[in-house]
Amino acid sequence: MIISVASGKGGTGKTLVATSLALSLKDSHKVTLLDCDVEEPNDHILMKPKITGSEPVLISVPKVDESRCTYCGKCAQVCAYHAIAVLGEHVLTFAQLCHGCGACSYLCPEKAISEEPRQTGVVEWGHSDGVEFVHGKLTVGEAMAPPAIRKVKEHASSDGVVIIDVPPGTSCPVVEAIKDSDFCLLVTEPTPFGLNDLILAVETVRQLNIPCGVVLNRAGVGDAGVEEYCRKENIPILLTIPLDTEIARLYSRGITLAEGMPQWKGSFLTLFERIQEIASERVSRIKR
């Protein structure tokens, strides 16, 4: 079962929820935690994993053999990203713009273009206190997160529970991280900002046809907008975490809720049971 933890708005508590859910389930399940927020991965700060392996994130960029090139311009014409240009008797490549689709090398009539790998990040894996751990790190200055996210997700094991920590937002990195999930937890806070971004996140998971539920974090301040919206849209609020400076202080020191306040483990186990119920109801509904 794959559960992704997403949010729309940043800083609502995705990492807090993903790590504590993983630690609460590890005694009863095989758990893999994938940190797909490759721009700003934080799970390792709380999980302190022992890293046992790593591999680079590579995308294939064109390498032109100018001794074979006839400067016909086909490569520049087919590149949708303007990552290769032919100017007179020069071919210029812009590796940072290249998505690595392979069109230029395949379509070059002279077979003058080969591909070489360019590193845009790294994926590392290991384990922490009985939890399998994988994260990706985009190299500072690189723009494209999806290849690193895809690489992290290659490590999703087919058995046990896989928990994915998703980057904030609603665009391509988010979709890359949450697609193929069985369930998506949306973490939000009870403010107009939290509500606005929750609505966008709900639209995203609905477009991907993934069932979702809400974790309401920092409850007790703000307003009732999120709860009213969830009621109206029939989205279950599966867990409520109060605004509590003690929780914030623990987090500031890199301590998870499951570790720092073990009484929360039961709530995360219940959360998991409810997710299982919703996901299995849905499967049986689809079968019918």
Partner: protein, 291 residues
């Protein structure tokens, strides 16, 4: 023209609260919300929409079933696994158009993709350019570029000399697009290990692109030891601390009321944001117009 962008690396550290207050404090500026994924600045500024425009960007492959001979070449060559059972999954398609060039039956065409909207709105604080990227769309960086370009144009037409942008979280494509060529970046962090880790990375991006950055420590009393560590790390790297904001529930209350904090309260947090604005505006005044 001078541009200030507010970034953070980690989300939810207080970028929008601070930009909302700068909107109320700064004179003669245009506001830009560059968080096109999850824009929130409009919720503080009560905008009235003046113009709504479609954002067309990129393409998506489309297979004509009648022409398709199901040879499978496109599925084999697509590196984004976007074609399954001779159908294109528009969400996975990156619009590279490789398939359309190699289809022996010429059954694949590329269709233009409408991937969001951008808006020009009037607010009490001046014009606001904001946007909404379509759900699950790509090219957020290009939409950010459109927002900035529009803001610049409005500023020039209105004889305004300053653009204040609310940036997206992270360090990737939309952040780079928000940051390139601005005069000054304010990086809002919090004294948590996550906030500190993410600050380090976004500072790296600013250095990479040669943008002067100052740091604001929000909720600085949450963990004073971490706050001191941020201060000493910044000092070591020659990065100035522009402000230290204590935690106060008044911030949430002002968001609920939908007004900039400095107009809602004249407490400690507001005074610190005002002080920070004076620091930043002095730096902006002295920075080159030519950038």
């Amino acid at each position: 023209m001078r541009e200030l962008v507010v970034l953070s690396g980690k989300g939810g550290t207080g970028k929008t609260t601070i930009v909302g207050s700068f909107a109320a404090l700064a004179k003669g500026k245009v506001l830009a919300d560059c968080d096109v994924d999850a824009a929130d600045l409009h919720l503080l500024l009560s905008p009235s929409e003046r113009q709504k425009s479609e954002f067309w960007s990129g393409q998506v492959a489309y297979i004509d079933e009648e022409r398709c001979t199901q040879c499978g070449l496109c599925q084999e060559l697509c590196r984004f696994n976007a074609i399954k059972d001779f159908r294109v999954d528009p969400i996975s398609c990156e619009g590279c158009s490789f398939c359309s060039h190699i289809c022996p039956a010429e059954a694949i065409t590329m269709k233009e993709n409408m991937s969001g909207y951008w808006f020009i709105s009037d607010t009490r604080y001046g014009p606001l350019v904001h946007a909404r990227l379509g759900i699950a769309q790509e090219n957020s960086g290009k939409l950010v570029a459109v927002v900035r370009q529009q803001a610049k144009q409005i500023a020039e037409e209105g004889g305004k000399d300053l653009i204040i942008s609310d940036g997206p979280p992270g360090i990737g494509c939309p952040v780079i697009s928000s940051l390139s060529g601005v005069n000054l970046a304010l990086l809002v962090t919090e004294p948590t290990l996550s906030g500190m880790h993410d600050l380090e990375r976004v500072l790296g991006v600013c250095r990479h692109f040669g943008v002067l950055a100052l740091v604001c420590i929000n909720k600085c009393d949450l963990n004073e030891e971490n706050t001191r560590q941020i201060e000493s790390q910044c000092l070591g790297q020659g990065v100035e601390i522009a402000g230290r904001i204590p935690f106060d529930n008044i911030v949430t209350q002002s968001i609920v009321q939908g007004v900039p904090l400095v107009e809602y309260s004249n407490g400690k947090v507001s005074r610190e944001i005002e002080r920070m604005w004076r620091t930043l505006s002095a730096i902006l005044r002295n920075s080159s117009k030519e950038k």
